[in-house]
């Protein structure tokens, strides 16, 4: 018998103002997006846009971080890594939106979870976000920068096979009401069904971030579509499902970006065995 732990509604969460909206900077104006110690600055000039990313080191999990968007008069003195984009003429349209990682994200719970046989659980795992910078009519893409640069991690059965991913620690909350407010991360509902006869010890999993869409709830939180993993009898994970739609906890929000990559059944089936470490 498969019992499913009911997911608590995400209702009742505090509403926050989305930081992703179109802005109209003047010439010479710097728009600063700060997330704790990490910040990204965009300067508009008459014939160029300048992008300066100063991502901080990977942050601790479960830390509440809010976005602060400010207008500054000039760029900082330290301009290491400055990128310049030259145009004949710039327009006062700047759109900065969140996007998911360009590689899978390996989520490792701070404490390992044990899922008994026949149990299905719904966890909430967050992953780091990138800032996507578009100008003019949003069809001119300047680039993407990580809000916080996550560590690299190798995910595979050995050092010869596998893939390079980003690393993320997670508390794997069971109740969305306990999720901290973090504007720099998106939440993925993960359903794990253990149909095996043995207890499954969940120590890490690879979230297929390039194949997920990102949604904004009407409370200003960022979500991805639900990922469902089924562990069949014999210990093999043979089913991976990406909902492709906004999760129930997102309260009828909107889609910000679709998946970076179009998944093929073959690529997913090939990777299925490796989603859970």
């Amino acid at each position: 018998m498969v019992s499913t732990s009911k997911s608590a509604s995400a209702g009742g969460r505090k509403r926050s103002t989305p930081w992703w909206r179109e802005r109209a900077p003047e010439i010479g104006e710097v728009t600063s997006f700060a997330f704790g110690p990490s910040r990204t600055l965009i300067l508009r000039e008459a014939n160029e846009w300048q992008l300066l990313a100063q991502p901080a080191v990977p942050e601790e999990p479960a830390r509440e971080v809010k976005a602060q968007v400010r207008r500054l008069k000039s760029m900082p003195h330290d301009q290491k890594g400055l990128q310049r984009f030259i145009f004949e003429k710039t327009e006062p349209k700047l759109t900065v939106t969140p996007s998911l990682a360009d590689r899978p994200v390996v989520a490792r719970p701070v404490s390992a979870l044990s899922i008994p046989p026949g149990v299905a659980v719904r966890l909430y795992i967050s992953s780091p976000l990138w800032l996507r910078v578009d100008v003019h009519d949003s069809d001119t893409h300047l680039g993407e920068v990580p809000i916080f640069r996550p560590s690299d991690i190798w995910f595979g059965p050995n050092t010869l096979e596998g893939c390079l991913c980003y690393s993320s620690l997670t508390h794997a909350h069971l109740d969305p009401a306990n999720l901290p407010h973090r504007h720099h991360r998106a939440i993925t509902p993960v359903v794990i069904q253990n149909e095996d006869a043995d207890t499954f010890r969940f120590e890490r999993m690879s979230l297929p971030a390039p194949y997920l869409s990102i949604f904004a709830s009407d409370t200003g939180e960022l979500w991805t579509d639900t990922v469902t993993l089924v562990r069949r009898k014999g210990g093999e994970t043979t089913s991976l499902e990406l909902a492709g739609t906004i999760p129930d906890e997102a309260d009828g929000g909107t889609q910000l970006h679709g998946p970076r990559e179009t998944r093929s059944e073959k690529s997913l089936i090939h990777a299925i065995g490796e989603w859970l470490g």
Partner: protein
């Protein structure tokens, strides 16, 4: 038509055959290159192209010789005797040729791989019939006979996607090894190029002459190997300085006995002399 069937026609036909043969050989080479480029590696494609070119050219050259009246049977007989002499003289070349075929078949390395043979490290430019060509990192061109490659130990540095960097560190005898380990792990966790998994490895090598010898091994993607090796050693130095962990110079302690008085020392500085203990 008379020019093709007149008195000197055989010379003209021979020339026509050579020209046509050259053109067809070029066409065959181009077609083979396009076909092979999509299905085989770069050096396989180059080899196939050359085989196609010379095969077609040799066929038309033989036809041209036949037009000129050469008795190919006599030629083949003379070639047989000549080949014996050539065989003795070209043992090395034949060995290189056969070694080259084995190298290509084994696929130990490919063009653009970085390999180490003996003391030479470089990027493979080509794998030819008799030798391989490398470009060293200081931009030198190195030719290594295939026979030498077959007989030597070859290390392909770019074969696997991740690499381990082994950092040797010595700390003073007075330091707490546990604290040193914690500090090294903290430094590795802060460096985004350092993989979280496989986890960094701390090995206490032993009690050296002047220090406690430690090996700290960290993993990274192979393209980040140099960047990580440089950055983490610098970060170790900075972190140790901040934590007050001493990296000692080689030193010797001199004792004159278990209850020795300090050695008398006389300092000579320019015109003045002073003495002390």
């Amino acid at each position: 038509m008379e020019i093709l069937f007149g008195a000197k026609a055989h010379i003209v036909r021979s020339i026509v055959l050579i020209v046509v043969g050259f053109i067809l050989a070029k066409v065959a080479s181009t077609v083979t290159r396009r076909f092979a480029a999509k299905r085989f590696s770069v050096h396989h494609a180059t080899l196939a192209r050359r085989i196609a070119f010379y095969t077609v050219l040799v066929i038309f050259a033989v036809m041209a010789l036949h037009q000129l009246g050469f008795d190919l049977g006599v030629l083949l007989g003379a070639a047989g005797i000549f080949s014996v002499a050539i065989g003795f003289a070209s043992q090395t070349a034949a060995s290189n040729l056969i070694s080259g075929l084995f190298l290509i078949g084994e696929k130990t390395f490919s063009v653009k791989d970085v390999i180490k043979i003996g003391d030479t490290i470089g990027e493979v430019l080509s794998i030819d019939l008799l030798s391989i060509k490398l470009r060293t990192f200081d931009n030198l061109f190195v030719r290594i006979p295939n026979e030498a490659v077959m007989k030597s130990e070859v290390t392909t540095l770019t074969r696997f996607p991740i690499r381990r960097a082994d950092i040797k560190v010595g700390v003073a005898y007075r330091e707490d090894i546990g604290r040193v380990r914690d500090e090294l792990m903290r430094i590795a966790a802060q460096n985004p190029l350092c993989l979280d998994e496989p986890e960094p490895l701390f090995i206490f090598l032993g009690f050296g002459d002047s220090s406690l010898d430690i090996q700290f091994s960290v993993w990274t993607a192979r393209e980040n190997f140099l960047a990580l090796k440089n950055s983490i050693q610098e970060e170790i130095k900075v972190g140790f300085d901040a934590a007050g962990i001493e990296i000692p110079f080689p030193h010797r302690s001199l004792y004159a006995g278990s209850e020795t008085e300090p050695f008398p020392v006389r300092v000579v500085d320019g015109d003045s002399e002073s003495s002390g203990t």
